[in-house]
Symmetry: C2
Subunit: 230 residues, 2 copies
């Protein structure tokens, strides 16, 4: 059933992303980085990150697993393609269109929301050289430009962004945590202060406790970092 080599030629397309091919190349390939990214995203949406295997990805593209390795060096490369695509979904539109505080707020919430649905990528981003991720780099350019215009001293811009980003990544995990994560269980009597604090928060009846913590931390960071401006 695995179709003869060029049978599926008609499909996907989405070509022309970056990688200009040299002359003298056949046009038959079903695959390219764009198509692989799309396939991976679709697979993640349907089956989650556990379902994202090289075999499943190849299958969704009607291709043998080994064919993928003509286009990506490793599975990590696939994750990188996905990550960079996600960066383009982060909302940076408020930078340059209003006060710095509002822009950071909008950007941070959007950034957290995007990656809270893709937490398995966070360890990948953390050590990802931006060189390999053009969309991610574009996001940084817009954000750092917004910080500069807001009056940040140049040598503090990157550190401030990194601090915010660290908080954002950590908070993305919180969103996925089970509701009863802080239930002390049988140890409740041994931990009265913590147990009381957990109960008290629960009684507030917030829809999403993770949002309360995120808002609290974000506002603290915004006002604290905002004080660095000249």
């Amino acid at each position: 059933m695995p179709a003869s080599p060029a049978v599926a030629t008609a499909g996907s397309a989405t070509a022309g992303q970056g990688t200009r091919r040299r002359a003298g190349r056949p046009v038959g390939g079903v695959l390219d980085k764009g198509g692989i990214t799309e396939g991976a995203l679709g697979l993640i949406e349907k089956k989650g990150y556990d379902g994202l295997t090289m075999a499943a990805l190849a299958r969704s593209l009607n291709v043998a697993p080994s064919a993928l390795y003509n286009h990506v060096k490793s599975k990590r490369d696939v994750l990188l393609l996905v990550e960079d695509h996600l960066a383009s979904l982060v909302d940076v539109s408020a930078f340059g269109a209003g006060p710095w505080e509002d822009a950071v707020r909008k950007w941070a919430w959007s950034y957290r929301d995007v990656f809270s649905r893709h937490t398995p990528l966070i360890p990948v981003i953390a050590v990802l050289p931006v060189t390999d991720a053009p969309q991610t780099l574009a996001m940084y350019e817009t954000v750092s430009s917004g910080f500069r215009d807001a009056g940040f001293p140049e040598e503090r811009i990157v550190s401030s962004i990194v601090a915010l980003e660290s908080f954002i990544f950590g908070s993305a995990y919180d969103v996925t945590a089970p509701a009863d994560i802080f239930d002390p269980g049988t140890m409740a009597e041994a931990t009265p202060s913590f147990t009381g604090a957990v109960r008290s928060l629960a009684e507030q009846g917030h829809e999403r406790p993770a949002d309360v913590a995120f808002s609290l931390g974000l506002e603290a960071l915004i006002s604290g970092l905002g004080g660095l401006r000249g």
Copy 2:
């Protein structure tokens, strides 16, 4: 060479952690949760998290891989044991022994340092019910008690700790990032603002740029969250 069942009986010990065994049990086991934790920690130290396989762990305990499954349900259980042990290494000594700001500062730096050497555990902690991690729970008790004594309203204690923790976990990743992670490479001309900001930080010549960002964010959080006290 894989020794007859009870040959290594003399070893490890470290018994008595929680799991009281019922009467009528042989004493021959080389393994218990304490021994497994020690073995895993040693392996991580020597070979890193890639080297922590069930086979390698069993080998380091002079036991067959399948034997481990009499004591843990899965590899995730092993990671959990390790995580809980690490929680006991976090320095909470300053709570109750000085101003709240200093206690949080000391705790946060210590917390980040411990987990920056164990980042593969971060995704595990994030969704780990504290019930299964007594040492972790003990840490929370001390910290939340410190927040309470400092005058935090009860319903804000957990959210404040979560916000700090999120920042700490995200920052732990930064420590492990390669030095050139922000090198824009060939895209430098396309991203003048970001490139300038990166250069400017580099010229400051900080030993560990991650520490600058962490300090910046932590101080912002401390002063922002500190304002919640009654």
